[in-house]
Symmetry: C2
Subunit: 411 residues, 2 copies
């Protein structure tokens, strides 16, 4: 039987991860986290990293069965524990110049049958223990990237009607296409893609819109943009000047909305997969930046719980533009994974904003971010509102209306 995962394309994905995603520099160490199922990709990335002059490549492999053993057998106190020693070690590695690569692709539904209280506590403990390492990543103190592995369990979830072999093959091909490694010259294609994304971001920065206006079936939404917002897309420069692509794939051009200046109503254009639950046909209404009404045809209870997380959970932290022509959108697949789904359509995100989406954001403190309209929250949940039936206009600071997208395509 044929390998469901094309080895040539897998090798190209590894090459793109090292050359484009990380832009790994000679002598740099590499810390690589991955599910153990992704070992074939881990090995190819290690090879490309060493060929690119890596110092030492250290894989940190996690195993779903070991994670489940904890939920099945550990005593209650275990769920407040986290491997702080490992995350602090990673932070120390970044401080000494190591790059960071994460392979996404475990079973998205792994914990869907477990006690939500335990899942929540374990996530909270992990999130706190990880804060030092995460801080270095979000500040781009080092070069980092995320790529995806077509895990069998993930593939079964995406294509429940196919055999495991066919499902994995379909997911693999979708990942390869979205990651632009389905043909030769993948590195050159990424250069062209980054250039195009950069041009869009520069145009939007030049416009310096006061707000964006989304219209279409079930949607009439005005999203005010933060003062001094900056549009970000594709390649990002680290503090030390290395240009890396933190997400493979990436299609979005995104910035920070003003947390007090969102109004109108909006309908989701795709289901939202949240921690093992599918929330369908979301419709919400904003007043003064705050969600004052929220409905869903399925999963409304979970949605209400999400909105009640904290005050910032009812406000926006991101608005992102993605054309309907994006390869991920064209695949028509729901991936149950934000790395892919957020690149299928224009979207907004509930919760925490990115300080990198401000002019001069690298050196901005939290107070200044808030003063300019940046939202803060413990959550950041992306949520699709674009499609080929949605138009987007920009409103200039003087109130002029400028077409940005028509029927999901850049004008």
């Amino acid at each position: 039987m044929q390998d469901p995962i094309d080895p040539v394309k897998l090798d190209r994905l590894a090459q793109v991860a090292v050359k484009v995603g990380l832009n790994l520099q000679p002598g740099q160490d590499l810390v690589m986290t991955a599910p153990v199922s992704a070992l074939p990709l881990v090995r190819r990335i290690a090879e490309h990293a060493y060929k690119a002059g890596a110092g030492l490549v250290t894989p940190i492999l996690s195993d779903d069965a070991v994670t489940l053993a904890r939920y099945r057998h550990a005593r209650d106190e275990s769920f407040d524990a986290a491997a702080g020693w490992l995350y602090d070690g990673m932070a120390a590695a970044y401080d000494k110049g190591a790059a960071r690569l994460a392979i996404a692709g475990g079973d998205p539904m792994l914990l869907s049958g477990e006690d939500p209280d335990k899942v929540g506590r374990a996530n909270r403990a992990m999130s706190m223990a990880y804060s030092g390492a995460r801080d270095r990543i979000t500040r781009f103190a080092t070069n980092w990237t995320i790529v995806a592995w077509p895990d069998a369990a993930w593939a079964r979830l995406v294509s429940p009607d196919l055999s495991e072999h066919d499902a994995q093959r379909k997911l693999a091909e979708a990942i390869f296409a979205a990651s632009r490694v389905d043909d030769d010259d993948a590195v050159a294609r990424w250069e062209a893609h980054n250039e195009e994304l950069g041009r869009r971001a520069a145009w939007l920065d030049g416009q310096n819109f006061a707000s964006l206006h989304f219209t279409g079936p079930g949607t009439d939404l005005s999203v005010g943009l933060a003062d001094g917002h900056k549009w970000v897309a594709g390649a990002t420069e680290t503090l030390s000047g290395i240009l890396c692509n933190p997400n493979i794939p990436t299609e979005e051009v995104f910035t920070t909305p003003h947390k007090l200046r969102v109004s109108g109503h909006v309908s989701a254009t795709k289901p939202l997969s949240h921690q093992g639950t599918l929330i369908e046909e979301i419709r919400v209404r904003f007043e003064d930046g705050r969600i004052v009404e929220a409905h869903a045809s399925k999963g409304e209870g979970v949605l209400q719980k999400v909105l009640d997380t904290d005050e910032g959970a009812r406000r926006l932290g991101e608005v992102a533009l993605v054309p309907h022509a994006s390869p991920i959108s064209q695949s028509g697949m729901l991936f149950y994974n934000t790395l892919f789904d957020e690149n299928a359509a224009s979207h907004i995100a509930l919760g925490q904003c990115y300080s990198t989406c401000f002019q001069g954001g690298e050196t901005m403190d939290n107070d200044e971010v808030a003063r300019r309209g940046g939202n803060s929250s413990a959550i950041h949940i992306d949520w699709m509102i674009g499609s080929d039936r949605i138009d987007i206009d920009g409103l200039s600071q003087s109130g002029e209306r400028v077409p940005v997208m028509r029927k999901g395509a850049w004008v």
Copy 2:
């Protein structure tokens, strides 16, 4: 086809690792290193650890293919790099009370075809980066253990004439027998075994021999013992009072020789597997504790290089008594792995001594260890000199001769 690795015995090995090897305490975290091939054992150990009340179990999995990618593709500078951030993290975990489990069982010949200079430099860099974590292990600052996984590559090396399936089955059964998990009541059997080992050590401590005298074919060797030496065997108490079994299996009762008081000649009774080379029929002569003549029928060049490592490499750091009736000796197998081979026969070790093999050694500094005759070196290489044709006598401080072993059996 039947699984070459009996799942019931494998589960018992995991249970013994947690209950006997670690004696894991409720609430203790566990750091577990393993080759990725050992995942079935990793998962069972995680389950038993959580059932025993573990806080968090963190596996750190290594992969032979990633290691080989380094030797095949990395630039020269890579071989002086090491993951200090990871080892320092482990040390921090031990300081916070985490236990430590290592699964042995990668391919023993993995690096036998690689550039010895690169292998040596990588080992040295790793050894230096690991010193903080190793220090906590050798001082028994926390409870730790090593168990073995019957890796396929290891099995092929041990039984080159069998099919891979049969070779792995044979190695697995040998590991299970040696680890005393081939029958019910494994934990009770370990209690009895530890008691027997402890009785031997107590008897030898009571004798407080000045030296041991080995005689047999090609061997007439007097091994002086260090002043204030202590015999160690089986379970060991950590600084905080947890009784753990650092090696599964273990058959030896061992102590520190006096580095200046070894004389006579000795012939190895088994080949010595050293970093991918087999050294056969070693014969050496000692004067005043120092090897002044060394021969081997195969691998003599490697042996000479080992002896030239440093001044301490020509002197003894350990003498260990193992009866010929030990299950590992009875298997008649050469394992190419010290965890097993050193438990097949009485042995001596070139190089570094253990400060734990002194009365009051826990609080002894290096100067005091040296003053009492403890040897120091960058190496510690165990080397079999016992068999069913070897007699051992103890010489008391007043010169009396006391029989210890006759034809490889305790008297």
